[in-house]
Assembly symmetry: C2
Homo-oligomer: 431 residues x 2
């Protein structure tokens, strides 16, 4: 490589380098002008002095527009006043392309306009910051899992059956084999994986065709599903808590610049890295009622309920031990109360909603079989899943983390569509 990335300029103090990037901004002041250059890895101020460059280079400033691509030569110079701590004293500027009429100016645009131009909107400082935080969150999750004995086990996306419900599936005609469906979760496959590898996870896109939902819901989003043999309910929550706290610390450590760009209140993130709260579903219902809700005993929790339950809490809250009627067939029953399942949802603070759903799984063949019959499931399709309870069944647990929700929380971003490069919703498939 015959040029330097802006993230690396600290290694080139007082040396002449070439930078390659785009014009973010420029400011003029008589015999000096400033070029704000970005290259994707960072941003740096270029200082152009009239008597240190050719007239041609000095006058380029009149030509340069936002997003024009340029190659800049100059001397790296530590300067505490500069954002990033370094500037470049420019010797030469070569224009690669002048951008004419770039449609996203610094003024405000409507959301639909921005989403129609998502391929360009991505370049804005805020979107850049969110995507870099997404990178950190992704690898913090995998780093924690890899360090704790989990092996990546990519579940298939083309599946003959549905993990949770059948009304929200995307259908894919599949050769002579009828329809395939796009997976909503790799969990069932992971349960086969643990019998080989002990602890496994997948981390890929999943799909929900939620016809009743709004433009706020993604139809394609990223999910990490983890599953571990011999892990029971309490240990399952412990792993989740450690994982999320590791993610928080990683973002605080690696994304100080990005959090600043987003004006994220990092004190809130720091406070969330403390022991999480636990509450049973029953306690949650009682609390909501004490706050004036008329929610019934066996109700699922809505977005507003989740906000109320975490109000005033700096840390995420586990809601555990749910009524069996409102949770999936594969969840193990609580031995102290068989009307409850050993499932838990984890609700983020600051109103960011559910970030994890998980449970201990039913490991008894006959109990699982009976429930599948009761729910009228196609037993043929699930014979392989029942097999896992026949040949060396073990207690086991798992959970799923929604990547975009976690990115939203870390970034402090209100709209989920900004937490993924190209959001897909019921109304949007383009660009």
């Amino acid at each position: 490589m015959d040029w330097v990335l802006i993230k690396d300029v600290k290694d080139y103090n007082d040396r002449e380098v070439t930078l390659k990037g785009w014009v973010y901004n420029k400011r003029s002041s008589g015999k000096i002008w400033f070029l704000i250059l970005r290259d994707g890895t960072g941003i740096i101020q270029g200082v152009v002095l009239k008597n240190e460059v050719s007239e041609e280079v000095f006058n380029i400033k009149d030509e340069l527009t936002q997003e024009s691509s340029v190659i800049v030569k100059g001397l790296i110079h530590a300067d505490r006043r500069s954002p990033g701590g370094y500037e470049i004293v420019v010797r030469d500027i070569k224009v690669v392309q002048i951008a004419t009429d770039y449609p996203i100016a610094l003024k405000d645009h409507g959301v639909e306009f921005l989403m129609d131009n998502r391929h360009l909107w991505l370049r804005s400082r805020k979107q850049w910051a969110i995507l870099r935080i997404r990178h950190t969150v992704y690898y913090a999750i995998t780093e924690y899992l890899n360090n704790n004995g989990f092996i990546r086990f990519d579940s298939p996306l083309l599946t003959p059956n549905a993990c949770e419900g059948t009304t929200t599936l995307f259908t894919v005609p599949y050769f002579d084999l009828g329809n395939a469906y796009l997976s909503q979760s790799g969990q069932l496959y992971l349960e086969a994986g643990i019998m080989s590898l002990g602890r496994v996870y997948d981390f890929g896109p999943v799909f929900r065709a939620e016809k009743s939902k709004t433009r706020k819901h993604l139809t394609e989003f990223w999910m990490m599903d983890a599953e571990a043999a011999y892990v029971e309910h309490d240990e399952n929550l412990k792993i989740q808590e450690e994982l999320i706290r590791f993610v928080i610390r990683s973002v605080l450590e690696k994304n100080a610049t990005e959090l600043e760009v987003l004006e994220r209140d990092i004190e809130q993130l720091k406070k969330a890295d403390a022991p999480f709260k636990r509450m049973t579903h029953k306690e949650a219902i009682e609390y909501l009622r004490s706050r004036g809700s008329d929610i019934s005993d066996k109700s699922d929790l809505g977005a507003k309920d989740e906000v109320m339950l975490t109000e005033g809490s700096d840390v995420p809250v586990f809601i555990e031990k749910w009524p069996k009627e409102i949770k999936a067939f594969y969840m193990k029953r609580d031995k102290d109360n068989p009307d409850l399942v050993l499932g838990a949802d984890l609700i983020a603070p600051e109103g960011f909603g559910e970030i994890i759903g998980g449970s201990q799984r039913e490991d008894d063949h006959d109990l699982l079989y009976q429930r599948m019959v009761a729910e009228d499931m196609p037993l043929d399709e699930y014979q392989w899943f029942l097999d896992l309870r026949k040949y060396g069944s073990v207690p086991h647990s798992g959970f799923g983390v929604g990547l975009e929700r976690l990115v939203q929380w870390m970034s402090g971003v209100e709209q989920i569509r900004e937490s993924i490069p190209f959001a897909r919703t019921i109304y949007r498939l383009r660009p």
Copy 2:
């Protein structure tokens, strides 16, 4: 966690621990018997001595079958003769479940039987080893990229258009927006990503509905696509070579046990970690003809050609500078010969075929536009892609790595279906 994973027993020498896993095998010899226990993280020999355990525990051996789940207590003991260097002197065995009539015995089974029972076949030692190598390959790729300034940028899978051709697409009815198609490559989206982040990659499943192909071709497989701003053809090949050599070293370093299980010739892998060869497409055609082939000038290379081209080579071979007619519209032309494109395929040695395809991309708006018109592409759908050449266009390049092919090569496994947890082919969607 109140038990120890087998991978960690080295930290517990001469200490009493609990292990939780499955019976892999057992051998008896009068007053002593041996339990081979696996827990997914490793395998260990348990020594059961008649006068050190209760009669009940000693007699469990008659009951235990392959794949039964058991919890074993005992003393970890370093023993150089043991596989893995440690054994456990058993104090107690608790049966979790006896596996009855486990269908996959140690005898040979046909491929279709094994694929029908993939959920169980995964447990076999060889499949376990391949999946662990897959984990290493995945993270070696991301580690190299992360260390070299690339940011993860997850491309959408639900797309309105096709990256390469339209005849091999899976179709997904998408609400009121007509059909969506499952992505074959995230490349075009990554080209938007580099304008924000400089260097990006995605790494997820992609889909090809190759109706004409056989059960040897996966319809769903994993691809890493990388893209970098300001990187031109030669630098593009350099990045690919460094990446692949890093993967080889990582597998050799982290998967010694797994490579041994697979009886992989590691000398071949070591030899492949050396400067790669380069050959133009023209030279390749000439070489094939010198070996008796009647291949024509503008031919693509088939599997047999690839084998011939790498025969006798210890290292992978780049085939570069292809006739423009047989490569995609977005590839940049060679300035020394506009009939050629600056694309390259990387062919693995030992007959493992193509592992990378890549190119420098056309960055000139008008040239790209003309080619899209000539190929009768729907310009409306690709306006956003053309936009990238209007607002600060830069030279850029990228490439795509097929994960399963790379896993096959590292593992030395002949069948691609064994390189992914649950293979999908034209004839198989289950389990």
